[in-house]
Symmetry: C2
Subunit: 242 residues, 2 copies
Amino acid sequence: MQTNKPTIHTCFSPALLHLYDLSNAVVVIIDVFRATSTIAAALYNGAKCVIPVDEVAKAIEISKQIDGIAAGERDGKLAEGLQHGNSPLEYSKDFIKDKTLVLTTTNGTKLLQMALDNKASTIITGSFPNLSAVCTFLINENKNVVLGCAGWKDRFNLEDTLFAGAVIAKIKESFTIHCDSSLTAELLYNQHKDNLIDFASTLTHYHRLVERFGLIEDIKFCLTPDGANVLPLYENGKLTTN
Amino acid sequence: MQTNKPTIHTCFSPALLHLYDLSNAVVVIIDVFRATSTIAAALYNGAKCVIPVDEVAKAIEISKQIDGIAAGERDGKLAEGLQHGNSPLEYSKDFIKDKTLVLTTTNGTKLLQMALDNKASTIITGSFPNLSAVCTFLINENKNVVLGCAGWKDRFNLEDTLFAGAVIAKIKESFTIHCDSSLTAELLYNQHKDNLIDFASTLTHYHRLVERFGLIEDIKFCLTPDGANVLPLYENGKLTTN
């Protein structure tokens, strides 16, 4: 009997988040290309914390106040007024250790704010670089899970869905799943897990990032499991690994 | 070069419909279990027309005015106050020929109304029983297409997605597709097209319909191609095949 196990639901778009009860759940914010990959990389490389914000002006203001690094993107490229973007490869240990990253992005940081507004019990961020850390945390917490895909401007995207599927494939024995989105995510992941980077070339966001901006190394990092295997937990306005 | 071909987008939920430009597009309303399967069956069996409405009271009122048959469901079962439900198998030729069906359902008729409100250029309804008729129409129209999945109370569902995938698999050579939802729909359909009815037993809506209401014959009809191969076109408040 599975009735005593907690549930997993997968939410394909920020515009559908209101359909799920977050009040007693762990919400995993998923923005594979690239916000939640960048958050994992920065924290793995020793950043003190990451402060996600929704506006460029706010990122600049907060980073000045705390002597942090303002960074982010809009529409896949460096946001106007910022010197640092949303590439996980920018945040090497030499650059980011002991610093605070103040990050604003098109989709991922917006979804995180929405999860807060919808009274999520616990918020973490996930992407392939910290897949195992996310799975371990979810199993240990033993609470309901909502896998929140950031998508692209409220549209469904495949890369976030594939990560949701990877999580489900690893932890489903510990949960009750009665959710077509979760079933779809797992089916897609199982179909493509052995060739994720090749498969990525068919995705809309791949064209945006690689053909326009040449970011193939970013794509590889973002789709490779456990390259920055930390658990970013959101508390008091900050993501930290403590 | 594909640049002169019209586009296909797949919309996974009524709550995402506003993200798509319907103003110069054919919108296919998809509610496989069971509204758009029932619409195909009724028209195939000689119904004069189907009038989709959003409320039970409205269905009763209109059917009285025009001597039609008020029918519909809420939450998968016969709506209170109605004598006829949302099963395609109810609408045999003996029963429905030359009559008008006034139909209200949880998801499909709601989405149709939303497509109207969003100024869709052309609205048709589709499900497996009229798969070929839908595909032929879309190729002949040569306009942009939005495959609108009705889902379940705004949540993603797999059966509507599978039908979107079946359409895409048949007509994609005539269209430009740059949409992760469409790619997903086609991948899922290709993975399961040879065992749709077996696969259906894993879907959330299957449990709702079969375990609670015993509707396995409905499921089989709704997932079998071309059992009622007509093209329901919405004009002036009515779906007809003319």
